[in-house]
């Protein structure tokens, strides 16, 4: 039960964050180049993501035994979550700029205004491809979380439904706001998602080591599922400590930060 609540919370928060970023791209294309092409690109990306989720989720759940599945997705989730946590710590310590949807929107809008108009299949090709790529790349992160959480908690449909609900919430909010959702506390949400991914990733990756033991049963944690909130709290404590000491370790020289849009490999 605890895993299901964690699943819903992590997938919803991560999906909101990624959907807000995707919305900024689609909105910039819609406002400057036309909504028809922007929505067509979004729909094409959503269809591709749905196929990808079903195929990858089925393959993982069918081919891997329980402990091997936990080890694989746990390790991936942990590495992925620690990337989010790393950026959150650097932002919290003032060593990396905060992500800002208004400046991302301005950047996208300016690129769209300068691009040449090419029409294919009745669509503005620039707006279509930028929307498709933007939604797909942000969506892949959601799919990754949906599949890893869903398969580990044996609840891919709940994970996929939660992600879809989050995307719909953001789309509706964007529709009424008519502007990027810059008031969504994205950096705080990313920090929270990083903690959840790191906590669950630690739990599953370590449990999955049981695949190497005689019998191949998952390694049991003390307290079983109750270890998950303890792990999340422990990651939170570690991150707060790092936020406090990182500026001292960095020294008096300013940290050479790149613009956030460029430095956005994953979160």
């Amino acid at each position: 039960m605890g895993a299901t609540y964690g699943l819903v919370a992590a997938v919803f928060l991560a999906s909101v964050v990624e959907a807000v970023e995707a919305l900024t791209i689609v909105m910039a294309m819609g406002v400057t180049r036309g909504w028809k092409s922007a929505w067509a690109g979004t729909a094409a990306a959503a269809a591709a993501l749905a196929v990808f989720t079903v195929a990858a989720g089925y393959a993982l759940a069918t081919w891997l035994p329980q402990a091997a599945l936990q080890l694989t997705v746990g390790a991936l989730l942990l590495v992925f979550g620690l990337q989010w946590l790393r950026k959150a710590v650097l932002r919290g310590a003032g060593l990396k700029p905060h992500h800002d949807e208004e400046s991302a929107f301005a950047e996208q809008t300016s690129a769209a205004l300068g691009a040449v108009r090419t029409t294919r299949f009745g669509l503005d090709w620039f707006a279509f491809t930028v929307s498709l790529k933007g939604v797909f790349l942000e969506g892949v992160e959601i799919v990754f979380i949906v599949i890893t959480f869903g398969t580990s908690a044996h609840d891919v449909p709940v994970a996929a439904g939660t992600a879809a609900a989050a995307a719909v919430c953001v789309a509706v909010a964007g529709f009424f706001a008519h502007r990027p959702l810059s008031r969504v506390p994205e950096n705080t949400l990313k920090y929270g998602v990083g903690l959840l991914l790191a906590g669950f990733g630690t739990y599953w990756a370590v449990a999955g080591l049981g695949v190497f033991a005689p019998g191949g049963q998952s390694l049991a944690w003390l307290g079983h599922d109750w270890a998950i909130p303890v792990l999340i709290a422990a990651w939170f404590a570690v991150s707060r400590l790092l936020i406090r000491i990182a500026p001292t370790v960095a020294g008096p020289r300013p940290y050479p930060t790149a613009p956030d849009r460029i430095d956005r490999g994953a979160p």
């Binding site: 590495v79 992925f80 990754f144 990182a246 020294g251």
Partner: protein
């Protein structure tokens, strides 16, 4: 676009996606899991205690790697 270029782009995308900006984080996770596997096979520590110790190692590894990165960039 030819196949090697596509394959290289595909690999680069997944590397950036999973490993990200600091490969040392992924390396520290793998190292702790290898240590955990060895300890599990040796049977020296009970499973529940081993799990807790590995969690502490993962946290220590992350903290160490992050501080190395911060110090390195601060000095560069």
């Amino acid at each position: 676009m030819n196949v090697p270029t596509l394959a290289k782009g595909f690999a680069r995308f997944w590397y950036a996606f999973v490993i990200g900006d600091d490969w040392k984080i992924a390396a520290s996770v793998v190292a702790v899991l290898v240590v955990g596997t060895v300890a599990l096979l040796a049977g020296a520590v009970p499973g529940g205690v081993l799990a807790a110790l590995l969690a502490l190692l993962l946290m220590a590894g992350f903290a160490g790697v992050l501080l190395i990165d911060v110090r390195h960039r601060g000095n560069s």
